[in-house]
Amino acid sequence: MAVLENAVPVIEPEQDIEQLLEADRRKDLLRFSTAGSVDDGKSTLIGRMLYDSRSVYEDTVKSVTKDAAIDFALLTDGLRAEREQGITIDVAYRYFSTPRRKFIIADTPGHEQYTRNMATGASTADVAIVLVDARKGILDQTRRHASIAALLGIPVVIAAVNKMDLVGFSEEVFEQHRQSLQKLARQLEIPELIPVPVSALDGDNVVHSSSRTPWYDGPTLLELLETVPLAIEKSHAGFRLPVQRVIRPHQDFRGFAGQIAAGTIRPGDEVVALPSGVRTRVRSISTWDGDLQVARAPQSVTLTLEDEADISRGDMIAAVNAPPRKASRLEATLVWMQSKPLRPGATYLLKHTTQTVRARVVQIRSRLDVEHLQQIPADALDLNAIGTVVLETSRPLLADLYRENRSTGSFILIDPADHATAGAGMIRDIVEAAQRAHGHGALALIAIDNSALAAQLEEHLLDAGVLVVRTRLTER
């Protein structure tokens, strides 16, 4: 436990509040997720960050202070209490801000059985913090946490090498971990992995630079969080507006409302309405606050167009020069989230942007063995499994690859029987309709009674560029 050094935060009463609010309005919002194995010090770290950045309520600090020492872990640890009381273990969201930024923490439990919770927390995160115990280095769990961050497309992963006080703040120890982390990042294709030596308990390099790590002149954890760009600023996809709703209060106004999924839009820009393919221009970007001269992802806006176009919910308005692709057959990485396993041949509802279609599981390509980072064959995906599957949809999606754009590259699968959210998917590859249909004159009809065999054959045929239609000849 650490000693209570600074009193509870209080602002100067004379401080000019309008000025403060002005500064507040300039802050953006960074979302990060945290994952660590039990006892790596995740709760302590978050508590320390909140406390040192003066983001905790006075009564909360009092309630976890004993003998003038704060138990930082208790400041935030809803999850621990839950573990003990057998209540819910889940993603817990926490909020704090510094003079530069606002933050949302998605605090997720680290154990394998909570893979789906980690994926949930990671799905919207700009940054992931992965905890590493300096005494132990990279464990199987570390690999799991890092690979989930990589899969969910988090552009920056910070490895907080914690408990440096217990290894005497040794540069060699940190250097060793740094090298293995670097190797892991390469294996996982994580664009940027930044190790930081910290002691959550004592506060070294969490918010304030530590004098006990003179060999480290990098930023503290909080300095990193304050400066990394938001994930959305890294997307290079063209303009996309999935239409949520048509707003038509009277004859003279017909607006298409939605949250911009990528890119920037201005009145006069040429756009295409999909799937109809009608080209037109943006007349106005209408909002309650008046018409805008420019809007960008992820703003929620309403567009009016120059020409009449038949557009409804589930359609997409996109940049003419860089439209999304039509995808009715796609390869995706799936995180499986329900206890009923995923099997080939099963049909689910698939929600992608604002449209929901039916999707059939054509094939399970492989399952990821997270501990060894290897793809292994699988004929089912169980709860918390991560796998690569091929899906076929009843109607084409207007999609991008997940790595090009998170919002138009992701989907969820919904169990049609009980409506549970069964899985979360990230589009890895799109088999374009045109590409699949390229010229083969012959037509073969093959009847197969074995769905696994059928899937295999279909796979080979598709690889050979043959158009395959699978149909059921008898009622089940």
């Binding site: 919002l29 809803g78 994580i190 400066t227 709703r245 309650w288 990485t333 959210t421």
Partner: protein, 329 residues
Amino acid sequence: MGFTGEVVSPGAGFSGVAGFEHPPEKPELSAARLSHIQLLEAESIHIIREVAAEFQKPVMLYSIGKDSSVMLRLAQKAFHPGPIPFPLLHVDTGYKFREMLEFRDRYTAELGLKLIVWRNEQAIADGANPFALGTQRCCGLLKTQALLDGLKAHGFDAAFGGARRDEEKSRAKERIFSFRDAAGQWDPKNQRPELWNLFNGRIGPGESIRVFPLSNWTELDIWHYIHLEKIPIVPLYFAKERRMLVRGDSLIPIEQPFVKGLPGEEQWVKCRLRSLGCSPCTGAIRSDADTLPKIIAELMAMRNSERANRVIDHDQDGSMEIKKREGYF
């Protein structure tokens, strides 16, 4: 072979031990960066529109408080220039402050909104009050039961609520689409994972969801937004001299006949309310904050969690989670 099927060069942006040889790249549109308030607003509007599109019969729970006021403004923005395509529902316990009811009627009429008021008339006629029943049972009857009955009577399948995750520990895990079974109950173990901005709005017969479009707003964000957007709020939030029962540190509003003071307890105090509930169970705080900037300054200085002033959360640790399971917001 990597399992992502994509080729990124990991070497490029990798920072070495000295840390920051390669500082994160500057965003392209730095001048045009969206502020946190714009980001929160965009997210909330998206949520409100999704619900309006995917549910048969949504309703917005309107508590008359500051969070409801923000939620209502976001709904106006979501459908502008069209009207809000769902009604408001106010669950009236019979113990709301007079100023709240006046504000409610005036403001909703001004905006031309459809307002439904629902009361548990039987319990009110039976004289249910927190002193006789305890706060748990009183809330159970006048709030939770009334809410469930009101939703059921009208057949609403989605109800917007203004709760925020930063309000209270058990709310930190709350979903944005919070699923309720046919009895209106919340099963914390059986909530749907929520990824990206994709919400699963599928429900079976009799089932419903509660939706929390303000989940990611903090108390400061709410006040800041009210200030920025000039959103009207109930005057009880602003400090002025009010007649109060002063008992220890507590300031108890005198609105109901059964709230009786001991001699000398009744005093004029400059005070305000931080959150609006039922008058017998909502304490006021001593304050000079009679403008929004002063309220915000006070909030920044004070840093007591908001619901500490609400009597109801004190009676039992984790009482919020229990209430939520039963159907309370």
